[in-house]
Symmetry: C2
Subunit: 193 residues, 2 copies
């Protein structure tokens, strides 16, 4: 097990309905030294890629992205979620379905901060069905920028997102891929990487 | 002028209605090396305080808080904004008025992550009327924790928030205090510190 898998075993809480709570270290309280290890690991896995920008999505991706960005010496841009449809023309917009909140959201990024010169590493805390991630990818493509890779903390390997994104040909690196969770025992099974 | 005031002069954009756009380096695209300078400066200004936790609020406070946290070797907790009223009993809740969006929001923090043992540095990107900040303070107080200080990137000195918070006796440190802005010339006047 790597450092993140170990931490999930130790502090993650498995709930009914395939819910994995990691709010004590990842997405409500945030362990910055853990994020630094994640930054080091992503730096290794994306070695040699000409990454000059980190893209993430509010809110829980931002903390990880900012710490990871230190290892790439790159600025972070975070996509905003918006329910409004009154977006002016200066924004890239993607529609994404939120399963958690059962509604459609718009994901927006100002055109000022993504262009065809950008080589983008997308960072997020979770990957499940991949809707948010596909929104981010479509925004990078709309900008004419290049997706150099995608770095995820925890992928739910039993949901469709990871497979879809890998089938599209992207280098997707998830530090922990959960294959199964048992709410009765609290046990989490990880995919061998 | 300090490093942040210089950056605001260089890259901030003054709009009608006392709007200062700093989205190219602070709250949409984020300049991590700038955040590191902010961390160093806050470390100096809160020297000797027994800070063991950083509290911020989603979304644009999170990036700054995570980088600042490195200088205090402390975890970050971010308060979530919620419109729903179905909060279970495990949450601290504060009601805050959002002037930007002209609505009332709830600000919530899980009780697991704030207790009477915590000595909290509150971090946010902007201080204007101070509503969000008062919500965070009330949550820290509800938890029985101690507010050791408040670190803000940009304070709008012509709005009431800073005065209110300082009158309450808190050590509030704003790295740049804007006294006036002229949308015609783009000029920003800072308070001498």
């Amino acid at each position: 097990m790597n450092f993140l898998e170990e931490r999930i075993q130790k502090d993650g809480v498995v709930k009914e309905g395939n819910v994995l709570k990691v709010d004590s270290f990842l997405n409500h309280q945030m362990d910055i030294s853990l994020f630094e290890k994640m930054g080091e690991e992503f730096k290794k896995r994306f070695e040699g890629k000409p990454i000059n920008k980190i893209l993430t999505i509010e809110a829980s991706g931002i903390g990880i992205a900012c710490i990871v960005a230190r290892y790439f010496d790159a600025p972070v841009v975070f996509a905003k979620k918006s329910k409004s449809i009154n977006i002016d023309g200066d924004m890239y917009v993607a529609e994404v379905m939120s399963f958690t909140h059962n509604c459609k959201n718009q994901v927006i990024v100002s055109k000022k901060f993504l262009s065809e010169e950008d080589h983008v590493l997308i960072i997020d805390d979770f990957l499940a069905n991949g809707c948010a991630l596909q929104g981010l990818i479509s925004i990078v493509n709309e900008a004419g920028a290049t997706v150099e890779g995608i770095g995820i903390a925890i992928e739910k390997g039993f949901q469709i997102g990871g497979k879809t994104i890998r089938n599209m040909g992207y280098q997707l690196e998830s530090l922990a891929i959960v294959e199964a969770m048992d709410p009765a025992t609290g046990e989490v099974t990880f995919r061998e990487q």
